[in-house]
């Protein structure tokens, strides 16, 4: 489980996160949603330690992550996997080398054992016969799947996904969403997904946290979100005319 307690983050005079507290549960797909510029990416990057917070606590289990030194953080980070918005695969490495990279860095397994693990992870994300390809030769969806394979290579306890569906067609986006949910449930990990894709919210949002102007305004499940009275959340959830028609078919 990951918990953030009263965290705040400022960039110059701009208060980007304002006293945010939330618990992200193990074995569930936890979604952070909000408009562009609401602070959700800063929240995710603060949780993984890419941004230092100004106030508050970030807890991984009982460990206060933001109080750890560089070396201690490294140990926690070995249990994290992250899928970045643009996949962030290493351009000069092949698919196989990308997935093998964390194994090379942090294990002393034989080459055969590492290769077996790489193929297992690639099979899991449904990537076949692409071991020798470079990231530039892959489609957007394939890049994301390879990035997920790399993220799970070391059996992480925590999986973070920043806008996993950005730049993908709706069908591929559903594939990625389902993959994230499957991996979360199968390996019983704590997954946090940062998204503004309402389809993801409905399909995989076991727990949804709504961030608005740096504040947490709402949290609940993907079922609760359709019946909320919170104006800001309704404006976000039912922003498209399609969503409005679904909510109120008579008047639209």
């Amino acid at each position: 489980m990951i918990e953030v307690q009263h965290i705040s983050k400022r960039f110059g005079d701009n208060l980007v996160l304002d006293d945010v507290s939330v618990k992200f549960e193990q074995g569930k797909t936890n979604l952070i949603i909000g408009k562009s510029g609401s602070g959700k990416t800063v929240l995710l990057k603060s949780i993984v330690g890419l941004h230092d917070i100004d106030q508050g606590k970030i807890l991984y289990g009982d460990t206060v992550f933001n109080a750890l030194n560089f070396k201690e953080k490294k140990e926690v980070r070995k249990e994290m996997g992250m899928l970045f918005q643009g996949a962030a695969l290493f351009d000069s490495f092949t698919v196989e080398e990308n997935v093998m990279f964390p194994l090379d860095m942090f294990t002393d397994q034989s080459q055969e054992a590492k290769l077996e693990r790489v193929n297992f992870c690639l099979d899991h994300v449904n990537i076949k016969n692409a071991n020798r390809l470079f990231p530039a030769e892959l489609s957007g969806g394939m890049k994301k799947r390879v990035a997920i394979a790399r993220a799970i290579a070391l059996n992480p306890k925590y999986l973070f996904c920043d806008e996993p569906n950005s730049g993908l067609d709706p069908q591929t986006a559903i594939v990625i969403d389902n993959l994230i949910k499957e991996i979360t449930e199968e390996f019983h990990i704590t997954t946090i997904v940062n998204t503004h894709d309402m389809n993801s919210v409905i399909e995989i949002g076991d727990k949804v946290v709504f961030i608005h102007e740096g504040k947490k305004l709402w949290e609940g499940t993907n079922q609760d979100i359709l019946n909320t009275d919170l104006r800001e959340l309704n404006d976000f959830v039912f922003a498209t005319s399609l969503a409005q028609k679904l909510k109120d078919p008579v008047h639209h």
Partner: protein, 246 residues
């Protein structure tokens, strides 16, 4: 004030670069790859430029010492000393600042803006050390070799010109090359080259590592890397020359 802030960030980055590597074997493989990228791939440009510069110095020196009282072998002496003292270390370093420096800065800058460096950090890897240390070792090891290569090729360029045009007889040129040779000049040049390698790699990496934004900023950081490392190389040249030759 901004200069102090930048200098502070540069030294913090250096402290991260010199931290203990996660896995020596991985660094070794990367260093071999960097030797190819930074060193071997620079052979061509160093050879071409040195060959022509050696020939041009021969023509210019001959043109400037037409006095019959001055021996012709002075052309060979001048070519040798010009190459050894200045061209094959400092001028080659400036050329490498353009070629290698911009390449390092744009490579690391692209990794920064495409979140590849964040990906390394998330995995618990010291990204500064992982990315910069192998480049630094490769450059410190290989820049002196490039400098030596430049000396030989530059002297050969002058000789080739003498053979082809006879502006000076090849025998006089060879005599001049051997005349009162101070081996100390070579060690002076190679010492400078090691410092230049350090400057070019660390300054260029610094600009790439802290690049922000998109491809435009990566291009800008690459330009800054070349300009700043060239200026610092010239400044270091002045200081090292004063220290070593005085």
């Amino acid at each position: 004030m901004k200069f102090l802030e930048q200098a502070g960030k540069y030294f913090i980055l250096l402290s991260q670069v010199f931290a203990k590597p996660e896995k020596i074997g991985i660094y070794y493989k990367r260093t071999i790859r960097e030797i190819e990228d930074i060193g071997i791939n620079s052979f061509g440009i160093v050879v071409i430029i040195s060959l022509f510069v050696g020939a041009v110095i021969t023509i210019q020196t001959n043109y400037n010492i037409e006095n019959p009282l001055l021996p012709r072998y002075l052309v060979g002496v001048t070519v040798r000393d010009s190459l050894l003292l200045e061209f094959s270390s400092t001028m080659v370093a400036l050329i490498l600042a353009g070629k290698v420096g911009s390449s390092i800065s744009s490579e690391i800058g692209t990794m920064r803006v495409s979140e590849q460096i964040d990906a390394l950090e998330i995995m618990g890897i010291n990204s500064a050390s992982y990315l910069i240390m192998p480049k630094l070792i490769a450059a410190i090891f290989f820049f002196p070799i490039l400098s030596l290569l430049s000396m030989f090729v530059g002297i050969f360029g002058g000789y080739l010109l003498c053979v082809l045009t006879e502006v000076v007889s090849p025998a006089d040129y060879i005599y001049g090359i051997q005349y009162i040779f101070y081996p100390h000049y070579v060690s002076y040049a190679l010492t400078k080259t090691v410092f230049y390698a350090f400057i070019i790699v660390t300054v260029s990496s610094f600009h790439g590592y802290y690049a922000e934004g998109g491809s435009l900023e990566v291009g800008r950081s690459s330009t800054k890397a070349v300009v700043h490392s060239s200026i610092i190389v010239l400044l270091a040249n002045l200081i090292l020359t004063k220290l070593i030759l005085s």
